[in-house]
Amino acid sequence: MPSRRYTPTHGDAGLQPERTELAWGRTTMSMTIAAVVFLRWMPHHGWFVGTLVATSIVTAMAIGSTRKRRFHRAIHGINQEAITPATTSIAALSASVVVLAGLGIFTVLLLPLHP
């Protein structure tokens, strides 16, 4: 039975849409691993660490949920010879990492250690 899901095709021998999609996938995994590592802080620094875990999980889920749209955008871009850069995703992801690092510095410097 043929699949009912429609996946557009492209003629790019360099497989750029796939490679870009995989790069986003790896980034989602890195973000999930960061969330797990943050969990390790919870016994030391208390519930505030939940904000770091939540931020990384929400970011990972946001990337995951827009995965198909991003893949189709890349394929259409290759086919049309013009692509809209993923400016919003890129700005949001960068902001998320900056916020996570900022919250991490706050946690190390200002939150008391639980024995």
Binding site: A23, I33, V37, A74, I90, A101, G104, V108
Partner: protein, 132 residues
């Protein structure tokens, strides 16, 4: 040279239109390659972030509290700089490929090298100064 891709503004909407400015539409492969490079920088930043957290959480038996805090904050600050810098790097490269000017130098590369060397130097001093 053929003027195939000179559809100015054709592939830009919203935020992209506002921050990317003028120029002509580049080959979409360049835009995708730039996107992947940005993601590689972000993953570098996330690795530094996880490293900073791990030093604080797992190294209690090895380092004293002050050294642990110093290495952790150093790694987290590096993660912040690389994570934020990755966006500006992406933006500058995207602008430059749209205007067909030479690519800008990646200033986050020396930041990463110097920061990494600093962390390594702190660890070397710690190992040498540690009483046997």
């Amino acid at each position: 040279m053929e003027d195939l891709k000179s559809r100015s503004g054709g592939g830009r909407t919203g935020l992209s239109e506002r921050i990317l400015g003028g120029g002509t539409e580049p080959d979409p492969r360049f835009t995708l390659a730039n996107e992947r490079t940005f993601l590689a920088w972000i993953r570098t930043s996330l690795a530094l972030l996880a490293g900073g957290v791990a030093v604080e959480a797992f190294m209690a038996d090895l380092f004293g509290p002050e050294l642990r805090k110093a290495i952790s904050v150093l790694l987290l600050m590096l993660a912040l700089l690389i994570g934020g810098g990755a966006f500006f790097r992406w933006l500058n490269v995207e602008r430059s490929i749209r205007r067909q000017t030479p690519l800008p130098l990646p200033w986050i590369a020396p930041v990463l090298a110097i920061g990494g060397a600093l962390v390594a130097a702190v660890l070397v001093v710690f190992v040498l100064a540690r009483p046997l």
